[in-house]
């Protein structure tokens, strides 16, 4: 039954990876940059959830939307203050706009990690569980209540987001801008607004991901570093900018790590994904599903 356990475990982890990677993928789609502060959106969400529940004594079910709100706001502020020059022409970086984005988001990541370290402290807090059942047995598989509820919530959020992007007016604007920014703006789409929505949404999703996992990976200032690296692997694997691609890639990575950690090497578990990332960037930069990079 080890195999089934590993499979379920991998699927659950994969769902959380997806929650985070979707935002990163959307950002890449719309701005063609990688947000190196993505893990810190996750970290801020984990803290917002944990600290609001612990210090205000409110129910975790209220802390969860609070974390979402904090993430949405943080994403919005970062987009307005730092990402705008990427498309409004204020930056003096000329042809080096990608490099501007790398530096600014990388510095933002270090800034957020260290300011949280100073303000909240370096110690781990235990995130409260959404449901206090330590063990739920379904057929041959046992899983903790919190993990099950959190995974189901994550699936629900992913479905909602995917539907929003596919069918709503805003979602279609986002799709249009990521296919062709100039074309979209010629068709009357407010590309600045679309970018703001995407960044905000990405911040919210990463924050919720951090909140849902706060019970399993207790928040510390650098808790977001590893999830962020996983989501880089995922967006490359799934094809930069493709939402369905990143969902599938998340599941694949979750399951691969779950099995690889047992059957190949636990010590080097965290390097598998990085190797996959390098190999893909070198030999198949369009990702698993062959979505060709679109010219802008």
């Amino acid at each position: 039954m080890l195999t089934l356990d590993l499979l379920i475990n991998g699927l659950v982890i994969g769902v959380f990876y997806a929650l985070m990677a979707i935002g990163l993928s959307l950002i890449f789609g719309i701005l063609k940059v990688v947000n190196f502060a993505h893990g810190e959106f996750y970290m801020v969400g984990a803290y917002a959830y944990t600290l609001s529940a612990l210090s205000l004594g409110i129910s975790p079910w209220l802390s969860l939307p609070f974390a979402l709100l904090v993430g949405l706001l943080l994403g919005l502020v970062v987009e307005r203050l730092l990402m705008r020059p990427l498309y409004s022409g204020y930056t003096s970086w000329g042809v080096m706009r990608d490099e501007y984005a790398v530096i600014v988001t990388f510095a933002l990541s270090i800034f957020l990690i260290n300011i949280v370290d100073k303000v909240v402290g370096p110690y781990a807090y235990k995130g409260p569980a959404l449901i206090n059942i330590s063990r739920i047995t379904i057929g041959p598989v046992a899983i903790s209540g919190h993990r099950l509820v959190a995974a189901l919530l994550a699936v629900a959020i992913i479905v909602v987001v995917a539907l929003i992007i596919r069918y709503t007016f805003w979602g279609r604007q986002i799709q249009a801008v990521s296919q062709n920014r100039l074309g979209a703006s010629l068709a009357g789409i407010d590309t600045a607004k679309a970018s703001a929505i995407v960044f905000s949404l990405a911040g919210g999703l990463a924050a919720v991901s951090g909140a849902l996992l706060a019970n399993i990976f207790n928040p510390t200032p650098d808790v977001g570093v590893f999830p962020a690296i996983k989501s880089y692997v995922i967006v490359v694997l799934g094809g930069m900018g493709s939402v369905p691609g990143s969902i599938i890639a998340s599941i694949i990575l979750g399951v691969l790590e779950s099995f690889g950690g047992v059957y190949i090497s636990y010590q080097y578990r965290d390097t598998f994904g990085l190797f996959i990332l390098v190999l893909f960037l070198l030999f198949r930069p369009q990702g698993l599903f062959g979505e060709k990079a679109r010219e802008v």
Binding site: W93, E99, A107, N114, Y268, T271, L277
Partner: protein, 323 residues
């Protein structure tokens, strides 16, 4: 011959400014006799070497690598392992570190040739993390996070001080002549427009790989010297936050200038030691400064200085950004 060309004049000014800065560092021990603060300057010179090396790639060739600290770690471990297993001294260890880091840099540079912007950043970031995780998990070979004790070279701190200064000066002089030569023009041409450069006959593959190898070799040298100074190496040398420190030094000092990395490294590291007494806020402050500089003053402190005191109407920022 072409010394009157504005590009060379810009280089000469920056080079002269960096020599003034290094001369200042040279006479500093006459006033700063405290061994602790001399050590602080030694470490800041280690960072200055990494910053200069990163600037060759990012500032002059347009390749944004996130691996300078990883190459420093590779250099430090090369000499560390050689002395741990074979009892070899720095005379063998330091050249070996340059070669090992250079060869790994050559291979990585050759591999990432086609990648730009976010793709290059992601690949070098993964490389850096893989290297660090491998070193910290190969406990049988490297003692993992416990680190390795490395023998020192000198007994006196001042000897380390002037050794680091001499090496930094040598790197800086070599870089000046490199950038003044045709090779320097090729590198900057690649940074500004790779396709245009190729169409004028610049060997893109050769020069990009060259820049990557050179940068990695300098990082390896810096790491090895640091290892012998600290008499200890650990995987923490390769942390991404260390790369963040290097980048912040270059961006605050002035990206793509000869004096920026050195000025930035000295300023940032020495200031951060001061800030340590006020509750360890240094990384918060510097990350914030990097964001502000990158957002508003791309040319860093050097650009601000030029704008304040330099020729009016031709600020450095406009010269580079105007393409």
């Amino acid at each position: 011959m072409a010394s009157a060309h504005p590009i060379n004049r810009k280089l000469q000014t920056e080079f002269a400014a960096s020599l003034v800065l290094l001369a200042f560092v040279g006479v500093l021990p006459a006033f700063v006799t405290n061994a602790y603060w001399q050590g602080v300057v030694v470490v800041s010179m280690y960072f200055a070497m990494l910053a200069v090396a990163w600037n060759i790639l990012a500032g002059y060739t347009g390749q944004f690598s996130l691996a300078p600290a990883a190459f420093g770690m590779i250099g430090a471990y090369t000499t560390g392992l050689l002395s741990y297993y074979y009892g070899l001294t720095a005379i063998v260890g330091v050249p070996a570190a340059i070669v090992v880091a250079g060869v790994i840099g050559l291979v990585l540079g050759r591999i990432v040739l086609r990648l730009r912007g976010p793709y290059l950043a992601l690949t070098t970031l993964s490389f850096a993390e893989i290297m660090r995780l491998v070193i910290s998990n190969s406990i049988d070979f490297t003692r993992g996070d416990l680190g390795l004790n490395v023998p020192g070279i000198f007994d006196s701190r001042l000897a380390y001080y002037y050794m680091m200064l001499a090496v930094l000066l040598a790197i800086q002089v070599g870089l000046f002549y490199l950038l003044r030569s045709r090779a320097g023009l090729y590198l900057r041409a690649i940074r500004d427009d790779e396709i245009a450069a190729a169409s004028r006959g610049v060997l893109i593959v050769y020069w990009k790989t060259f820049a990557f190898t050179l940068s990695a070799a300098i990082c390896g040298l810096a790491g090895a010297l640091y290892g012998h100074f600290a008499q200890f190496v650990s995987p923490e040398l390769g942390l991404l936050s260390q790369t963040g420190v290097v980048i912040s030094m270059v961006v605050i000092g002035g990206l793509g200038t000869m004096v920026g990395p050195i000025g930035g490294a000295l300023l940032v590291y020495v200031l951060s030691e001061f800030l340590r007494d006020f509750g360890n806020y240094q990384l918060v402050v510097f990350a914030f400064l990097v964001i502000i500089f990158a957002r508003f003053f791309r040319e860093g402190l050097w650009g601000l200085l030029l704008a304040a005191f330099g020729r009016p109407g031709r600020p450095a920022a406009a010269a580079t950004a105007a393409e």
